[in-house]
């Protein structure tokens, strides 16, 4: 079976578009070069193909079960994670002194997308553990790092993110779990938690729960939340007082066990504070931002898998004849010969390849943010990350789901059956608009915070990036019209943003159409990332060494034409959205709750 991403596409994004080998100019990465990056990606692809992809369906059919109080998970999941860890992926970006490889985050992400494409629900376990290790590295004390980082990086311990409660999902200010000082620098936690992925299983020596809770007497709301590390097994070897209440039975993403947990039912749940008291949400958001890019990329990789699967099908499945063909005995043409099928393939390609390019551009910003010698560069990279993260999480998870929908549609009845993988991609992908901050909340975050933060500095930087690309693209005659089109779309978006953020509407009305704003920004960013790819493709078509383009010609022309598709069919969607926003249309807001 095909595995996304296509190697020539990944190569194009990393080298033609992002020039990742330039990362070796940062002292931290000076040992690296194209050779080590390619060797890492090769190992990732092979493990993803051999160990992750084969059980993707099996894990869907046999969801985790509770047997005699223990969570039973098909063994292939643990074996795949073991191969992942043995190859060193959990430690890849960490210091050499910690057993890591000091690999740039861009390459870590480029490697990880193979696991997400192959099997998103198995990849979720190391995904959470890597995020937990990053958080402990950033906020833990030396003692905590010494105790927990090593086993996490080796994959002996797994990590979780424990935020939601049965009555408080999106609304974290209502978290009730409490932490009482035990008089010995530790805490005892009490409370119920919900939707905890990887919350209980037998695959790891230990599970480290990173739990949001309120220290007794802390302020109400999110300002009173602290972060605690609660191990499943305590340092003295005793089982901690974390009880599995039950498993959630999901429509997709089934390999990732999802749990309801009770902390401290027996009054003896030991936890340790991470960082400062009442700063928990800020720390968790440090982890969540990374997770949100990861969620976006996971959704995009499912779109990519669906694209490649339906593309293969469309190329091989004879069905019908061209509209002008009157002879019923004429041989059937392949599905891909039909214009409407190509429309649905283009839609998927635009989201899948454009999304991957955007996700890896963001990962490269993470490297710039962490490593650039210039403080200004680091700050700017951080602001760009702030404003684009909600877009890749929300807009792209919505679009990726629509892409999977198109894959099913292309394959018709076959796509609707469990004989083909696309229905599972859709079900697995349906989670992505929900978790790690529902898309509606991402939209509010984008319009209510990110677009205006630091007097619009983040928004201004994004505008600058897009403007710079229109200048670059204009140098290629064949991209001139697209460059103009993006410039005018950008002006429209700037105008809408300034109207919305300066009007004295009050937060209720201003944020009422945040989802439309998200969609408008998403289309702008999608068009921009495709113009960037088109510029790189024009460069590639000029060829190296006096014009040798070789086998890449079709591939590069495909990039150029997909860019044209995005500008002809997707970017114009900005206009009606901008109308709605500029005119402060309140149709949805004004609907009385009693009128439904």
């Amino acid at each position: 079976m095909v595995l996304a991403p296509r190697p020539e596409d990944l190569d194009f994004i990393l080298h033609d578009m992002l020039r990742v080998e330039e990362l070796a100019e940062y002292p931290r990465f000076e040992e690296h070069g194209r050779e080590t990056f390619e060797a890492v990606l090769e190992t990732a692809r092979r493990i993803a193909e051999d160990k992750f992809q084969p059980h993707n369906r099996a894990a869907d059919l046999a969801e985790p079960k509770l047997v005699d109080g223990k969570v039973e998970i098909i063994p292939e999941i643990g074996q795949a994670i073991e191969a992942f860890n043995q190859a060193g992926f959990s430690a890849a970006h960490h210091d050499e002194a910690l057993g890591g490889m000091q690999l740039p985050w861009t390459v870590v992400q480029a490697a990880f997308v193979h696991f997400q494409a192959a099997n998103l629900s198995t990849a979720a376990y190391p995904f959470l553990s890597i995020a937990a290790a990053n958080l402990i590295r950033a906020q833990g004390t030396d003692a905590q790092k010494a105790r927990y980082l090593g086993p996490l990086l080796k994959g002996r311990y797994f990590g979780t993110m424990v935020l939601s409660e049965p009555h408080a999902g999106s609304s974290l200010s209502d978290v009730r779990t409490t932490a009482k000082p035990d008089g010995n620098q530790g805490y005892r936690l009490t409370g119920s938690k919900m939707w905890i992925s990887g919350g209980e299983h037998e695959m790891a020596e230990n599970i480290l729960h990173l739990v949001l809770a309120r220290i007794e007497g802390a302020p109400a709301g999110v300002k009173g939340l602290s972060l605690f590390l609660v191990p499943r097994i305590r340092e003295d070897g005793a089982l901690n007082d974390v009880r599995l209440v039950g498993l959630n039975h999901k429509m997709g993403y089934r390999g990732t066990v999802n749990t309801a947990l009770a902390f401290g039912d027996g009054g003896d749940c030991h936890g340790e504070l991470i960082g400062e008291a009442n700063e928990g949400l800020a720390y968790m958001f440090g982890m969540m931002n990374e997770a949100r890019i990861g969620v976006g990329l996971g959704a995009i990789m499912l779109a990519y898998q669906g694209y490649l699967t339906s593309l293969d099908y469309a190329r091989e499945r004879p069905q019908g004849r061209h509209p002008g063909e009157k002879d019923p005995d004429a041989p059937q043409v392949m599905l891909i010969e039909h214009a409407d099928i190509r429309r649905m393939l283009l839609k998927q390609k635009a989201v899948a390849e454009g999304g991957l390019a955007l996700g890896l551009w963001l990962a490269r910003l993470v490297d710039r943010h962490g490593q650039d010698p210039s403080e200004r560069e680091r700050i700017e990279a951080g602001l760009l990350l702030d404003i684009v993260t909600p877009i890749i999480k929300a807009f792209f998870s919505d679009q990726a789901l629509a892409a999977n929908d198109a894959a099913i549609q292309i394959m018709g009845g076959a796509g609707y059956t469990r004989d083909h993988p696309v229905e599972q991609y859709w079900r697995d992908n349906r989670l992505n608009p929900i978790h790690e901050g529902a898309n509606g909340i991402q939209a509010i975050d984008l319009l209510g915070r990110k677009a205006t933060m630091r007097d619009g500095a983040a928004f201004g930087l994004l505008v600058r990036e897009i403007e710079a690309e229109t200048v670059t693209a204009r140098q290629a005659p064949m991209l001139e019209d697209l460059s103009d089109q993006l410039s005018s779309a950008l002006n429209r978006v700037r105008h809408v943003t300034s109207v919305l953020t300066s009007a004295q509407l009050g937060p209720m009305k201003m944020l009422a159409n945040a989802s439309e704003y998200m969609e408008m920004m998403g289309h702008l960013v999608l068009a921009w990332i495709w113009l960037r790819q088109a510029s790189a493709a024009v460069e590639g078509l000029r060829g190296e060494d006096g014009g040798h383009v070789g086998d890449r010609e079709d591939f590069l022309k495909g990039k150029l034409h997909t860019c044209r598709y995005v500008f002809a069919r997707e970017l114009p969607k900005i206009s009606p959205l901008a109308d709605t926003l500029e005119h402060f249309d309140m149709t949805t807001f004004d609907m009385d709750t009693e009128w439904f």
Binding site: P7, T36, A39, E42, G550
Partner: protein, 249 residues
């Protein structure tokens, strides 16, 4: 005991091979290349011997264009200790390869050479046997099991009738089959270590071998396309078609 493992750079097994328009060979420009999968099994076998204390050093050898160093680097990233690269830009046939390997064996004096039973590009299945003949060493080909004793090896061969176990006096040649082992992945820390491991480069002339091909390739063409099947009405028609159209009975 030192173990020598020749590794060949071939078109990746996932690539759909295309014949060049001028029929002189297959398209290699911009095509993904990897280590011959049978050679990965050889590297794995050598590494397991080293881990079991049966081998002291694992040396990976590749012959061909400059990029063969990438293939050697893959073997080093799996865990081989050092590499030898014989740089040659033209076509190499099994006999020339076997002669050059013999020259390397004479210099390196390994106790065992482990080769893949064949390469997946030309499927020749000759180099190991030729090398054994040139050296006058014992050979165990197509092995699915290897037991290392003192001065002797037991190699289980996959032959047409089943399995055959032969005892070989060392130094010896073995060639590997698919079921011998499952090769390891190049781990990330080992990819970094491999960068620092040495690769010696030499030329066919340094080894005193003339690598010029003995065979002339007239042309390379794709196999005939398989034609669509037909449904026959009855056995009589089937027999008739087999006899008169397919001419197989």
């Amino acid at each position: 005991m030192k173990v020598l493992v020749p590794v060949k750079r071939v078109i990746d097994y996932n690539v759909k091979v295309r014949v060049k328009a001028d029929q002189t060979g297959v398209e290699l420009a911009n095509v993904k290349m990897s280590m011959n999968p049978f050679d990965e099994i050889s590297v794995e076998a050598a590494l397991r011997m080293k881990e079991a204390g049966q081998a002291s050093e694992v040396v990976a050898v590749s012959l061909g264009v400059q990029q063969c160093q990438e293939t050697i680097r893959t073997a080093l990233a799996m865990g081989a200790d050092r590499g030898i690269h014989v740089l040659h830009d033209g076509e190499l046939e099994p006999l020339a390869v076997a002669k050059m390997l013999k020259a390397i064996v004479d210099k390196e004096e390994p106790g065992l050479v482990i080769l893949g039973k064949q390469a997946i590009d030309d499927d020749c299945n000759q180099t190991g046997q030729m090398l054994a003949a040139l050296l006058g060493w014992a050979q165990g080909t197509f092995i699915s099991r290897l037991e290392v004793g003192d001065g002797e090896l037991k190699a289980t061969r996959e032959v047409d009738g089943g399995l055959e176990t032969v005892a070989l006096k060392t130094p010896a040649i073995v060639t590997t089959d698919l079921r011998l082992n499952e090769p390891r992945y190049a781990s990330l820390p080992n990819i970094m270590k491999a960068k620092k491991k040495p690769i010696d480069q030499m030329s066919p002339a340094d080894l005193g071998v003339d690598p010029a091909p003995r065979l002339e390739t007239l042309k390379v063409v794709e196999p005939d396309k398989r034609e669509a099947g037909v449904i026959v009405a009855d056995v009589t028609e089937l027999v008739d078609k087999l006899r008169n159209e397919a001419k197989v009975i």
